[in-house]
Assembly symmetry: C2
Homo-oligomer: 189 residues x 2
């Protein structure tokens, strides 16, 4: 007997192919070929490409939000969470993130999905900074900025460590953990 596929099999394989070969790999044709089945299987599980893409994006959203909870949310104090979150982000594998982002620039559905994820992530980080007694508006701006830096780093080809060794990253995290008041004092040197 040949082991049969289900929706999940296709979705998993979809994300793998996306991260390795970009959004152009998300075609019924190529996916079937790399799974060594015919497109007949694909069109049994999904109505069409749009249907598949919708399921794939939902699957991705579920995955990335679950991931954060597993990785950092069980730590107790918020400062540790921030450090762990940022370190983890800048050390992790960014291929899927980059591919998804690249796809979003060309596809409305993907763009909607990433926008939701973006907001969730920034909100989460904002709350951590607020818990560190940083004023809410400042916290929100810093959170966005930190998150954007992660995203930008994910979009560049060079590894982050090339520009940003661990100690330098810690220094920058320190900057973002500084109380809002301190800045005005040291502003005009």
């Amino acid at each position: 007997m040949k082991l049969k596929l289900n929706k999940q099999s296709w979705l998993k394989h979809g994300l793998t192919e996306l991260s390795q070969n970009g959004s152009e790999a998300l075609k019924a044709d190529r996916l079937a070929k790399s799974l060594k089945v015919s497109r007949g299987s694909f069109y049994w599980h999904f109505a069409d490409l749009v249907d598949f893409h919708e399921h794939l994006l939902a699957y991705w959203q579920e995955m990335v939000t679950q991931q954060v909870i597993n990785d950092v949310d069980l730590l107790h104090d918020s400062q540790s969470k921030v450090r762990e979150l940022v370190r983890h982000a800048f050390a992790g594998d960014v291929r899927l993130e980059r591919a998804m982002r690249s796809w979003s620039a060309q596809n409305k559905m993907a763009s909607d999905a990433t926008e939701i994820v973006d907001n969730k992530r920034i909100d989460y980080l904002t709350n951590l900074l607020v818990a560190e007694d940083i004023a809410p508006t400042t916290a929100r701006a810093r959170a966005a900025f930190l998150y954007w830096a992660y995203l930008g780093q994910a979009m560049t080809r060079a590894s982050s460590s090339e520009y940003l060794p661990d100690t330098a990253l810690d220094e920058i995290i320190d900057l973002f953990l500084m109380p809002s008041a301190e800045i005005a004092g040291t502003k005009t040197i």
Copy 2:
């Protein structure tokens, strides 16, 4: 008489289409249609798609490097340059940047081009920070981080002002202009 096209016409139009419709618009077929000519013209000016893409990337590199020089390099003190550079980056139109970045995630040639531009930009910013008496390694890390934040912001759909009003951006610029020594002192509050 119909006004004839040259290489430059195609390249300009290429960048416009790229920024508005993504890298999928960079096909001989579509470009010709939106220029209201036949593909015959395209294949007269360019050997094939790869040839066109090469010229387009070279044209883009030339454009973006020239742009920075015009915009900020004529200011005198380095602190003003940093502020002007960052403000300008976060206020400007990012569609072309996003489209180019998205293309880079799928295309080796585009990836090479953006890598070169990335390095140039980070180097330029690093030098400005060093001129502000920030230690070279710290300056390099901060420059990269600042640049990544710009890139990340460019990749998100939300306008930057939504999260980052002008005053908040200035506060963050202050953080990155802080002398390296100050941090250790205020670190453990």
